[in-house]
């Protein structure tokens, strides 16, 4: 059993009010020195069987067609060690 992680973030040019709200709150909470915050999603997939190239290709397709909406989001697939 292996874990594959898919990170989905809004594209850089898209406004991210959630990240901004976090960033704006930080100084109030006494945390300085953070110049930007972006908030995205993290999916942890438990995969049955080996995570070979074929499996990864399938997961990439899944991320592209389903987990992310590529009109607004970028994604990244990685195998967790």
């Amino acid at each position: 059993m292996a874990r594959v992680v898919v990170d989905v973030m809004l594209k850089p040019e898209i406004l991210d009010p959630q990240g901004q709200a976090v960033q704006r709150a930080l100084p109030r909470l006494g945390f300085a020195g953070i110049t930007d915050v972006r908030q995205g999603k993290r999916f942890e997939l438990e995969v049955d069987g080996p995570v070979d190239d074929a499996a990864l290709a399938r997961i990439r397709e899944m991320a592209e067609t389903f987990l992310a909406n590529t009109v607004i989001e970028d994604f990244n697939v990685k195998v967790e060690s």
Partner: protein, 234 residues
Amino acid sequence: MTARIGVVTFPGSLDDHDTRRAVRAAGAEAVPLWHRDKDLKQVDAVVLPGGFSYGDYLRAGAISRFSPVMGTIIEQAKAGMPVLGICNGFQVLTEAHLLPGAMLRNTALHFVCRDQKLTVESAGTAWTADYTAGQEISIPLKNIDGRYTADERTLDELEAEGRVVFRYATAGPAAEGYGNPNGSLRDIAGVTNEAGNVVGLMPHPEHAVESLIGTGRTDGLAFFTSVLNRLVTA
């Protein structure tokens, strides 16, 4: 014989019941459609209602878009059948790429429920023929993922082709329902496809068909009469 208008129920649809009532109020026959059925029961048009299909988990509309009924609707829409997506239905239509763009979390990050002023930008679609371009209407809006987004090129194209159907009217006080409620680019509240048969919008015309209920206005009824007139004269 009157027109048959299908209203889809996905798991988590909320306004299917009201939408059927609005369809009947306009004089058409309302036909319930179930997400698991590919069969559209010979309807002449389809409405995808508001709600939180699949809880809006993942992204609003992202899971419903893959339901069996959507397979058929996508085909039929491309063949010219009138399809209207309201709120969650609009989100489904963008996820299904029947309409351009995507919907994001409102800039204020809250759910917003208000009586919203809109400007009708195009009376040239299947669902807006009974309005006149430039007309101001007021119908309820309620969403949390209603920020319409598309890249600049797409937006320019939509404008150039007259495919922006509704805009949030901003020339008045917030207390009266003016203003862009969710940060939608270029104040866009609704758009159509190239052929004008598929329309999506965030506000809820089906909640504005009875004088006693909700906001007490009936500005939403013309959506349903528009499509009905088109179908019976066609």
